[in-house]
């Protein structure tokens, strides 16, 4: 069993843009070691160089990349191999579990054929004949808990979790010594994520395979790895025992990453998301706006059916929901649970079925014309991905003023824009007015989106996964802002999320949605600490936590 050793590895990309020529250093002087049979996690945000490092194991870097230092599998230096030798090493000695939910499987071949291909390329005594190889595929399907006939499927016929299982089966096919898992559970639901992680853990332990796992999610690594390395901007920030990295990080950056995964039940993080920014002082407790009893938005017997292709999807079933003034309500569920459809419906973006009632301050939700526009002045939305939610061609000023112009605001537009940017904590606002979105960071962009909504002085903010597309270290900032808007302005919010920790961080109440129905609804502490419904319990159990290390 060979060790995997990164010895002072630096990787630079030669960029060939017509305007800018130059080298971009993706990985800088990284030395890491994965002993045979061990497990190593590499954590980092986008752009940290963690995937580049993973690709270097099998020399899969694009042609414009140059590697200095050495990557060794046992005694072999990967960069010394001839192309033929390299091909023999690929997959037979080390294999990769790609992010299968995305595009790592060829859409025009059956998945079985794609597994078979790996076997044909690395024939051993165990699968010398066509028949033996077919049997091996069957065996692998069994290992990853899929029925054998699924091998005949094309990738698009499988769900995300099934595709990820196929990727695992493929990685195991040639009995490698080392497996590199590159974001193996990204884009999967918590519960599926849990299944996949458990499976990888079991297989790695049973087979004594060394595992290097790459993820942006520290909690995922915490459940699977003995050691964790944290990377930032191509450099190694901290390496250590998983337990120490998660619970007692030495570096401030690691601390920020860890704080993105609050422990549910920990009083320190309740109503207190951790932010690295200097925050304006919170108003004194007696002046903070709190949740009141005044009902703003309510839905009764809400059903939503929409057509997707030819079949009708009944996405929301008999939902009752109320949002009170000053309340932060977290609507929690997996993808496909209907939570986004529900949000779109209460905003009037998606028509509800007949017999459903949605009211804002006792008035039925208008469907068109002036009344709808006026309603939009009261209820605003913050979308998941701020890079997509801002027209890249417009300046911050125009973006924030857009709503005012649509609403025919007749006050001092400029003053209102500056005010809103200030409320969204883009200070001093003047510095940002002329910027276009690509000049801003992800967190700043999300603040612009929030400022745009605040400009028209809404009473309710609907936020659909407001931090899901942001880097972990920015997460706390945006959550703190949402909480502070409630405390300072009394703004109510409906926050749609898959992340129970987020609810613990900022929500007064939690509604759990499962298959179109709200299965549990109540104050946050009650729902998260004393869950009544089976599904809520499953969800809580599946969420990876950095505390798992304590148990392990």
């Amino acid at each position: 069993m060979p060790d995997l050793i990164f010895d002072d590895v630096s990787i630079t990309y030669r960029t060939s843009g017509r305007n800018s020529r130059g080298d971009v250093a993706a990985v800088k002087h990284v030395s890491l070691e994965l002993p045979a049979g061990g497990t190593l996690g590499v954590a980092g945000e986008s752009g940290s160089g963690k995937s580049t490092l993973a690709m270097s194991v099998l020399r899969l870097l694009p042609r414009n990349a140059t590697l200095k230092g050495s990557v060794r599998i046992g005694e072999t230096d990967v960069s010394d191999l001839s192309f033929g030798e390299l091909r023999a090493v690929r997959w037979a000695e080390a294999s990769i579990i790609f992010q299968g939910a995305m595009h790592s499987l060829n859409p025009v071949h059956t998945v079985g054929r794609q597994i078979l291909e790996a076997l044909e390329l690395h024939v051993t005594d165990r699968w010398r004949t066509e028949k033996a190889r077919k049997d091996r595929v069957k065996e692998l399907m069994e290992v990853v808990d899929l029925p054998a006939e699924k091998a005949e499927s094309y990738p698009h016929e499988l769900s995300g979790g099934q595709k990820q299982r196929i990727m695992i089966a493929m990685a195991l096919a040639c009995e490698p010594d080392i497996i590199v898992a590159d974001e193996p559970t990204t884009a999967l639901d918590v519960i599926v994520q849990k299944q996949i992680l458990d499976m990888i853990n079991d297989l790695v332990q049973e087979g004594g395979i060394s595992l290097m796992m790459i993820s942006h999610d520290l909690s995922v690594l915490a459940t699977a790895c003995q050691r964790i390395a944290v990377m930032k901007d191509g450099e190694l920030v901290e390496v250590g025992d998983a337990h120490q990295i998660c619970l007692d990080p030495h570096q401030p950056y690691t601390r920020q990453l860890a704080s993105a995964f609050p422990v549910i039940g920990d009083p320190a993080s309740r109503m207190n998301p951790i932010s690295r920014r200097e925050r304006p002082a919170r108003p004194p407790v007696d002046q903070r706006h709190q949740m009141t009893d005044e009902v703003l938005l309510e839905a009764h017997g809400l059903n939503v059916t929409y057509r997707s292709g030819r079949k009708a999807v009944h996405a929301v079933k008999d939902v009752d929901l109320t949002i009170r003034s000053g309340e932060i309500l977290a609507l929690v569920g997996q993808s496909g649970s209907g939570k986004s459809t529900l949000a779109r419906t209460v905003l009037g973006l998606q028509p509800a079925d007949d017999g459903s009632a949605i009211q804002f301050r006792g008035q039925d939700l208008p469907h068109r014309g002036r009344a709808l526009r006026d309603f939009r002045g009261q209820v605003q939305m913050v979308l998941q991905d701020p890079s997509a939610a801002l027209n890249p061609k417009l300046s911050v000023y125009e973006l924030v003023a857009e709503g005012l112009r649509i609403q025919h605001f007749d006050g001092d537009e400029e003053q209102r824009v500056v005010e809103s940017l200030t409320e969204a904590e883009l200070i001093p606002a003047g510095d940002y007015l002329g910027a276009i979105p690509q000049e801003l960071s992800g967190g700043q962009r999300q603040r612009v989106v929030i400022a745009g909504a605040l400009a028209i002085h809404p009473e309710v903010l609907v936020a659909d996964e407001p931090v899901a597309s942001l880097d972990a270290s920015v997460r706390g900032e945006i959550l703190a802002l949402l909480l502070s808007l409630r405390e300072r302005l009394g703004l109510s919010a409906l926050v749609i999320t898959h992340d129970l920790g987020l609810a613990w961080n900022i929500a007064d109440t939690v509604a759990v949605m499962y298959r179109g129905r709200i299965v549990e609804h109540g104050p946050t502490e009650q729902v998260l600490l004393h869950p009544q419904h089976e599904y809520t319990r499953t969800l809580l159990a599946a969420a990876p936590s950095i505390r798992d290390q304590e148990v392990a």
Partner: protein, 308 residues
């Protein structure tokens, strides 16, 4: 993606100046990038020269040089030489004079038909992408229909039925060549439409008009621009083909008409090679230039094609 420091404070109160300044900066960037491509620059220079020559036609070659009554003594079918630069035709007219005047018709038809085709294509493309339900479905069906229909055949039908003239050719080409643009615009519209900033505008209370003017149109314009340059080339080919088939304006010179004459006189098999070669080379040169410029514009505005 690294966040650079935002541009320095631009004193508020100048939202419009700000937008204008950004646009002019974008235009400058575009030009700076365009200059990096030798192929595009070559095309641009060739086009500039040809357009200037076409504009100067009345000065360089007064109309009397085409007047048959004044050409009774000039030689027929004279091959190119110093005294007859491009040779002469069956009626003793200098080919270079005919070419010069022909360039005006070819270019005017190319530009006018393209303008027409772009306007129709953009409007239908945006509408087909933006409106859902039966309106969008119907428009999409129509676009697909015109896309597969041989536009030249339809243009032939239109120009045979309408009275002969430059305007007819423009209409025939314009009405039949918009589908490609509509397709590109529609798919771009759909992709913009699915982006969150359109949803955000809708949540802010925006109606169709605001979304189309503020978000969709600016997003499709660069593609339309690239398409325009490419379409001028094919419109010029279409014009020459229609003229070659005898559907052009008989009273006007155009490169296609000259080739039509040469074909009627069997110039190709009778050894009057210049009569065939020169007009065709001119078309090739102009169309190639438009294509080169168009491809560079396309590469710049659509970075996903950068590797082409």
């Amino acid at each position: 993606m690294t966040a650079t420091t935002p541009t320095p404070v631009i004193q508020a109160g100048s939202a419009r100046t700000m937008a204008w300044r950004r646009r002019s900066a974008a235009a400058k960037d575009f030009w700076r990038e365009f200059r990096q491509y030798p192929s595009g620059m070559t095309g641009l220079v060739v086009l500039a020269v040809i357009i200037i020559l076409a504009l100067l036609a009345p000065v360089l070659a007064p109309t009397r040089m085409l007047d048959l009554t004044q050409l009774l003594d000039s030689p027929r079918y004279a091959p190119p030489s110093w005294s007859h630069l491009f040779g002469t035709d069956d009626q003793g007219r200098e080919l270079w004079v005919r070419m010069l005047w022909g360039s005006r018709v070819s270019l005017v038809v190319g530009f006018a038909a393209t303008a027409m085709s772009m306007i129709i294509g953009t409007i239908i493309g945006i509408a087909a992408g933006h409106f859902t339900g039966w309106v969008g479905g119907l428009l999409m069906r129509i676009v697909d229909f015109f896309l597969v229909l041989p536009s030249l055949i339809l243009a032939i039908v239109l120009s045979s039925v309408l009275s002969r003239g430059v305007m007819t050719i423009v209409i025939a080409i314009g009405l039949t060549s918009w589908a490609g643009t509509a397709r590109v615009v529609r798919s771009q519209t759909l992709s913009v439409e699915s982006r969150d900033y359109v949803e955000r505008a809708r949540v802010l209370g925006a109606g169709h008009w605001h979304i189309i003017i503020k978000h969709l149109l600016p997003a499709v314009m660069p593609l339309v621009l690239a398409n325009t340059t490419l379409t001028v080339g094919s419109a010029i080919i279409a014009e020459s083909t229609l003229s070659f088939l005898g559907l052009g304006d008989p009273s006007k010179q155009s490169w296609g008409t000259i080739l039509k004459n040469s074909m009627d006189l069997s110039a190709a098999t009778s050894g009057y090679w210049w009569y065939v070669l020169i007009p065709g080379l001119a078309i090739l040169l102009v169309v190639l230039s438009f294509t080169l410029v168009g491809r560079v514009v396309e590469t710049i505005v659509n970075p996903t094609l950068r590797s082409r």
